[in-house]
Symmetry: C2
Subunit: 155 residues, 2 copies
């Protein structure tokens, strides 16, 4: 995709997150994009992101769902306000709660597709539903309750 990812719009001081910060050289650097009303993120785990041999580590799955969901919450809030993501003030979201159901073991070695959609936007709170799939099969489902970052932290 040639469009900019949600994370490419984060202000520099908020771009150090281990999961999604483009400036964290040790991190996962996930990238999220709109695909209609859903947001999608494709991630290729490293061979060492293993649980038992041959399967993806559950903590990585939780991390992908978490960061993709906070990114989606941010992008959805700009959309709801009719604003572009490069406009001020920056809208960034923190995770209040994270729930992941591991539906089946996630095979290691193929790209993972995380899809997120908005379940609720109300005030400063955005609730996101997400799935994580491998080779077209849903391996995990998540729900993330996010809250807009206070302005003094986001600027």
């Amino acid at each position: 995709m040639t469009q900019k990812a949600f994370q490419d719009y984060y202000p520099d001081q908020l771009a150090h997150c281990y999961g999604c910060g483009r400036l964290n050289e040790h991190g996962l650097q996930i990238k999220s994009y709109w695909d209609g009303d859903e947001a999608v993120c494709i991630f290729q785990p490293k061979p060492y992101h293993t649980a038992i041999p041959g399967y993806v580590y559950g903590g990585l799955i939780a991390s992908l769902i978490d960061c993709h969901s906070t990114g989606t919450a941010s992008a959805a809030s700009y959309r709801a306000q009719g604003r572009e993501m490069d406009t001020e003030p920056a809208l960034r979201f923190l995770t209040a709660s994270l729930h992941v159901d591991y539906v089946r073991p996630t095979p290691l070695g193929v790209p993972l597709e995380v899809r997120a959609r908005v379940k609720e936007i109300k005030g400063r709170k955005v609730v996101i539903g997400a799935t994580l799939s491998a080779s077209g099969e849903v391996c995990a489902r998540g729900e993330v309750v996010t809250v807009q970052m206070p302005e003094h932290m986001a600027q």
Copy 2:
């Protein structure tokens, strides 16, 4: 502590987990120990395990709670059977669901203490409640539903 950690008893083929495998050189290699009826794990995040600057990445918090809880489920099952952890057959647990409530931002730079206790043991299912604290303050609470690994995977 001089006692062996739960994870030191895992069979070699199950010791590659990114979160808790002693044989995963890229991983977190957490260590869990009994402290009475609770299990405790002390973990020092790396400087790059950041969310926003100064605070710990939520995905790492979820990972610590997840792996410490599956380890506690394993140790608790041996206890319930009156067995030592170095006896066969090996009892290892997979995560069925993970829930984390982020109570307050977790400061980066201090050791984190994860405490877990058994909420329920029933058949092959063990439910674990966990807290993650920094400098004595609870920053996150978790609940992990774990299921005993099928014998053909655990041996």
